[in-house]
């Protein structure tokens, strides 16, 4: 199974499908995935189930507003790496959709570094560009702009 730009796209489609059998065609059951930074949801998730648990948290925190737009996908079939670059937006659950506060609004350029083996992703790292590490820490934090705890 050659590592191609198309196959990277299909892996993320499978992840979004909710169909575990389809996911396992692209994602190793023991895949490790790193969420960047040091906020409460950062660090390495071990195994597909932990990673899916994190994605459920994203859905909950963003109340379904999370949106990503792909910029480009790169692959190196020899080393078994892919990188997909994306723009990402979300509004924190409960926040005003017009808010400009980084505690409410996520607006980051980000990418995934994926390592493939035998046609499946065995390791992934989410990575934030620019000053996205700081601004996304505000979005992920339990606090609102006034310091009160939302979670």
């Amino acid at each position: 199974m050659e590592l191609t730009v198309d196959r990277v796209g299909l892996a993320f489609e499978a992840l979004a499908s909710g169909d575990r059998g389809k996911m396992l065609e692209y994602w190793d059951e023991n895949v490790r995935f790193e969420i960047p930074g040091n906020h409460g949801h950062a660090g390495w998730y071990e195994g597909l189930d932990e990673f899916l648990g994190f994605l459920a948290t994203v859905g909950e925190y963003s109340a379904g507003t999370y949106r990503a737009e792909n910029v480009t996908v790169l692959v190196n079939p020899d080393s078994g790496y892919s990188v997909d670059i994306n723009k990402n937006w979300a509004v924190r659950a409960g926040a005003d959709h017009d808010s400009t506060s980084p505690y409410d609004k996520l607006d980051v350029d980000a990418l995934h570094v994926l390592r493939w083996r035998d046609g499946k992703i065995v390791e992934g790292r989410g990575v934030l560009m620019g000053d996205g590490g700081t601004t996304s820490a505000l979005w992920w934090s339990p606090i609102r702009a006034d310091g009160t705890r939302a979670h």
Copy 2:
């Protein structure tokens, strides 16, 4: 009940005593208390019970190693404010006690700003000096120095 340096000390003794009746002589039942920063445990805790819940988390994360040494206490009885300045140390539960990593070892100068009314604390803010906001975020984070999740 005059606001004195001694009374500030007694308020923290009461908090540490585990005796709720004694606590309520110094801490208002509806006290709000802010933990600084944007890590997973930051923000305003509403009411004595939420605040005690946070202190229990400190005990759990530090496996009982948290230690504080008072430097000085200041009061302004007219405005109803006190400030107590302290040095604080802790080792993260499960970490090597000789570790020098800021993900494992907490070593910060900090202070509490307390607002008193009718002899009781109605609002408190924990505050970190120097670069303690950054280093304590590492300590409070779910990750170890290698990025694996401890919590």
Copy 3:
């Protein structure tokens, strides 16, 4: 020279006066002063002249918009400490005054911890409350909200 709430206020008036002789009535020539965080202007300034150099930088970065409002002052004459608590606002030079971006707009609760000896301040530490360490790092950074460098 007793350490009183009034004397703390006079020390800051002297600092703002631009009159070095008046400053030296309250500030030791070898005073050390710490700006919190790890941004490009953070850390200990050694001596009154270095500290005045920092204050000039504040004036330049804020194009004179820096404004502070005192909340309260506390003293402990026995230990020789004072704490003054303030609200602070500024707009970054060149930024739109209506901007809500933390890269442009500073809005923090802060305090100074001052150590006095023989009637003069020998050591001071600026301290930021809440999540002010993060938001002020954005304000102090060389970058604007779009990542372009302003300095």
Copy 4:
């Protein structure tokens, strides 16, 4: 001039060569390059000369200890993007080489996202993985672990 893994490697060799004519075979004179985060050296450098100025600062801050080891290179000739993933180490000038403090020692996984046009790099973004945004901010800061200013 096709965008290949080899050509990416040659672009960085040219940059390290000090030979401006060679650099201009791979780097557009008006290249923009982003250093991530919000520390004093972060943000977009405009033009090859500004970028070379930043690289000189890296050399000065690290006293020549900066070392990088390539992990892999990925290209997408259709979209004109390349990504090179690297491990990076450095010791801050003046620091003890055995220091384990993140204020002294840089140890980060990082990558460059490069956009190519007509065989030359027109835009580049340095990107830090894991919690490298936080730890590298300490390294880049003007302060040492004790808060004194090194720069």
